[in-house]
Symmetry: C2
Subunit: 633 residues, 2 copies
């Protein structure tokens, strides 16, 4: 740690090898249009529909502004793309073996929210145009889309797309078993030898007899559960394995005071939304109970206390051979060999903690030295003891607050800088109009969010971050006065971009900032740790801090490292790096093909898992049904 070369300033640090996406620029400002927005959107959609079906690339080009983006998820290809500008758009369409895939595209008039309406493309509401949800049908599927149209001042004020978002929600002929397609639940009539639901359920869960899962998922957190739920609804036999005794233990085992920092409206899982009485911020054990119920109610097949002993890939058969050891309820170990066609690594970031090795660590004589993932909570009989928390992001702050509440003398070590926003103001600004009480349906909110290509989101969030800072001015000033170093995130784009580009580096304030301002939590700023002493830490400036307990809230390593540990070099070498943006501004390798057939990464917060679980399940179902080939573009 003391030797880490910090060349890029902390706020702009990225996942290694990923692209530092530049924020987009806006076209000229425009007042809200007074013309017939329904006509504008319908005509634009009809023109695109016509141009696509006649492969009239020149006309397609005319329907997009310079500086516009077409973002697509699985409608145009079996991947995620953002095409920047008309040239890149038609270049892709020309080269695609499937053409555009799109058979029809039209405006969606099914509700006030969906129908054409006045819509701003920027955060401040100065760049106005027309927005509309779209209905899309491709050669293989159906899905929604969203377009934002602005007037092209260089082309006589004609209406052109500034952003177009297209996606696929269902494969034709393989629709989910929900609503009108739900199971009947009872086989009417007298069928001799009929098993009841419980008997069938138990046999399925255990993969009795010759049953084999098509998909094996490692980890029963939000990633494993949501992807299993989607696959189940598409009729793909799926098994989740987890090392813990109970579903939800990955949350139960975390620190005592942990409560989700995202609000309930943003956190819904697929199919079973949180009910109306659910608290805004879910405590960890309550989330664990939800997960446990979720697995049962969705009839997910989960083997707890199960380890993956070995896994090998047969490239010619396109299937895995995995050896599992499952501890049964009676304490015996069952060994099983299965042959899934897909393995999803949904072990979360917490598989591999980032725990720096520092000189003297093993000789620490205090009560505890551990990583935040190992921290079970401050002790109630340790009043007056000295605690140090290394790391100033969400976990570090929560743990410092826990120490303070238990009467410790606590110091946080902040080596670089942190993006801080208050939970209230930050979430109010960032989630407004999308994820809030009385807001749109979650599925609509997700589409509205996804419909903004990341370069444009980054640009909007520069303004949003300014607005949050304005509202949080007193808090931020107080922190700086207390010696806490703040930043504004990558290119000043704040919270979301830190999350997407780096996976950390922020604190959503739920109280610890005021404790820092009040001096109740002390700050050691800007110094690397040189050595762990028997009773404290020695810093680069020669100063020392005493400690009875030291917690390293230093985050987690890249998921690819976990893949290497579980599956070995042979597999991991074929897999691409995960997280951070690619050149188009899409997140790398996550929820999409990884470079190794039949191997997938799945992770993210609850919202990302909710959304991308559908995308992943559709890819696997399409492969499984022969609609997609692994080598397809």
């Amino acid at each position: 740690m003391a030797t880490a070369a910090v060349q890029v300033p902390s706020h702009n640090r990225l996942e290694p090898g990923s692209n530092q996406l530049k924020p987009a620029t806006y076209p000229a400002t425009n007042d809200p249009p007074k013309a017939d927005v329904h006509k504008i959107a319908s005509e634009w959609a009809a023109s695109l529909n016509e141009a696509l079906s006649s492969q009239d690339y020149e006309n397609i080009k005319q329907l997009f502004l310079q500086g516009s983006c077409w973002r697509d998820q699985l409608a145009l290809s079996w991947d995620y793309h953002t095409f920047n500008g008309p040239e890149k758009i038609i270049s892709f369409l020309r080269s695609s073996p499937h053409g555009s895939r799109i058979k029809s595209i039209s405006i969606d008039d099914s509700s006030t929210l969906h129908s054409p309406h006045v819509s701003a493309a920027d955060f401040d509401g100065k760049v106005n145009g027309v927005g509309s949800f779209l209905k899309i049908e491709t050669d293989v599927g159906k899905g929604p889309g969203i377009v934002r149209l602005l007037q092209d001042q260089q082309d006589g004020g004609s209406w052109k797309a500034f952003t177009l978002f297209t996606t696929m929600h269902e494969l034709k002929g393989h629709e989910e078993t929900v609503r009108g397609n739900r199971p009947h639940g009872v086989a009417h009539g007298g069928k001799p030898g009929r098993k009841n639901w419980q008997e069938r359920r138990t046999a399925t869960e255990n993969f009795d007899g010759d049953m084999e899962p098509t998909v094996l998922i490692l980890g029963a957190g939000q990633g494993g559960l949501t992807s299993a739920a989607r696959l189940h609804q598409l009729g793909v036999p799926t098994l989740i394995i987890d090392r813990n005794p109970r579903v939800g233990d990955n949350w139960r085992n975390r620190y005592h005071q942990l409560v989700l920092h995202d609000p309930v409206w943003y956190d819904h899982l697929p199919y079973v939304p949180f009910p109306s009485h659910w608290p805004i911020f879910t405590p960890k054990d309550k989330l664990a109970e939800w997960f446990e119920s979720y697995a049962k109610l969705l009839e997910l097949n989960v083997w707890t206390q199960t380890n993956l002993e070995s896994a090998s890939w047969d490239g010619s058969k396109r299937q895995w051979t995995v050896n599992l050891e499952r501890k049964k309820a009676d304490g015996t170990i069952e060994k099983r060999t299965l042959h899934p066609r897909h393995v999803i690594q949904a072990t979360g970031h917490s598989g591999e903690m980032s725990f720096p090795q520092i000189k003297g660590m093993e000789d620490f004589k205090g009560d505890r030295l551990c990583h935040s993932s190992q921290f079970k909570g401050a002790n109630s009989d340790s009043k007056g003891k000295k605690a140090i928390v290394v790391g100033c992001c969400n976990s570090g702050h929560d743990i410092a607050q826990d120490f303070y509440e238990h009467g410790y003398d606590v110091t946080v070590v902040q080596r670089s800088s942190t993006y801080v926003m208050s939970s209230k103001e930050g979430l109010d600004v960032l989630l407004a109009g999308l994820y809030e009480e009385g807001g749109p349906d979650t599925e609509d909110a997700d589409l509205m969010f996804m419909s903004i290509p990341n370069a444009m989101l980054k640009r909007m969030h520069v303004d949003a971050t300014k607005e949050i800072a304005r509202r949080d001015a007193d808090l931020l000033a107080g922190l700086q006065k207390a010696g806490f170093k703040l930043d504004n995130g990558p290119d000043d784009a704040g919270f979301f971009m830190k999350y997407f580009q780096r996976g950390g580096g922020y604190y959503i304030d739920v109280g610890a900032s005021q404790l820092i301002i009040d001096g109740k939590i002390k700050v050691k700023q800007g110094q690397e740790i040189m050595e762990v002493k028997p009773h404290g830490l020695l810093f680069a400036d020669g100063s020392e801090l005493e400690a009875d307990e030291i917690v390293f809230a230093t985050g987690y390593l890249n998921m690819r490292g976990t893949a290497r540990k579980i599956f070995g070099d042979d597999i991991a070498d074929q897999v691409n790096d995960v997280w951070g943006f690619d050149e188009e501004g899409e997140l790398r390798t996550m929820w999409r093909r990884t470079g190794h057939p039949g191997f997938w990464f799945f992770g993210g917060n609850l919202a990302l898992c909710r959304y991308f679980s559908r995308m992943l399940a559709l890819q696997i179902k399409a492969l499984d049904a022969g609609i997609m080939k692994y080598e397809d573009p």
Copy 2:
């Protein structure tokens, strides 16, 4: 059983002492109105609002048709009433110490479904008028209503109410903790000694220290769970006790093939609706899992393996003293004495089985003789054995079908007659427009259903029952040919009225009828059982039937009998009879004051529990908060 004097024909049999409600009659038929329905409804509501606030009884009378009903649940009084005709309406309003309680009543324009619309008052759509949802505010609460207006041909075609339904959904100042009023979930800021959610939850569930439940509920079935859920959202500390080891065992322990006969759209519980993937008909073990999750997710306090050892009522303190024995997870027994102010008996019908004592029963030498509630399923190694099922309602048919599927030679004994409708046609007709895929929100559907006073519902169901019989013609003819005796329910009003007035006497066909038609299940019709022989049954006509197994699917006794068994004569003598209609056509004693302060009955199918749990919780909350007095009208 052999001595039971059957004077009333089976189809008209009632809960003893209850009122054989006469079906209503309709006014003249009318084509759908062409006038402005919004204006018609608004003007009528404004007139009623004005007349109520000025206590102008003559004008109120003018706003109701002869033969109309005003049905009210807790808005006008702390009880359930149906006032038949203008005279009874104003007679009640004149005599009520609170006046009408209603401070304002107006049409609800919040959605297409709620707004004034053309609406038929009859089943066939020949008696047309204007319907609208209403918004009501009383001196203490708020709630919705529904009015159906028809033209009075005796009064120049002026628009008058044919049915008015008013109810209360919330007590002002005591709103439920849902949606905008949901809990925050985290106490921001550093609070020394702060407990986390799990610690608080465990303490609450155990009623640690001095904590006392305000309400004690006996039974963790749908009645106990739904009423606890509603009370919890109103902030009333509530404890459910149940004798079984796990929540849901009351369903798990029932017969092997049991699947709900009502469809999912009708079965939703409050706050946590069944998700979109849920099967139409829920198997018993799946329902049990739902119940178990429901209790956890709503944070209901349930003590399983707990018995009520004794209970006494202190009339002056208005509180109970109850002694409980709770078996803990470690096998030890904890004795607790608690002092709730209310006890809700939600033991279901299954507390006391109706198991006739017949000569020779104890000398039966076959493999099994039991009540349907004790029947765990046919044996898989008993092919060719002879089984008799006594009783031809839902359970009897399901059990006979189970025997058939396991290769038994099975006969059902039908002593009187049964109302039969196929699940598909019956539910299609009876639940159409209310509880179906893509139908109204469940809360709206419930209001639409409740808004029809029972005499009018009975009239509509005479026609509905005819329509179902028309669709089921082949099935019914086949049954009659097979010697199975059919009826059409009380006053030919079919299924719902049999359920309301008698609590049984019907079969919703899910396959067994065809087995009867095909002779795969035999029928012994019209004969009482004289004696149980060592290897069969002897009937009144002198015939005998051999049997290795005999199951009495003979239903359950009145809940008041269970009250007597649990609480003794002193309490039971003060309690009124349960189920069946009172003189106004409202169900007796259930979900409303029972005659004994602090003692309540709660039961019914999932739909009734969903709906009336709110009503019961509001009464208890109003008593608890001093808004209502037990002696209030």
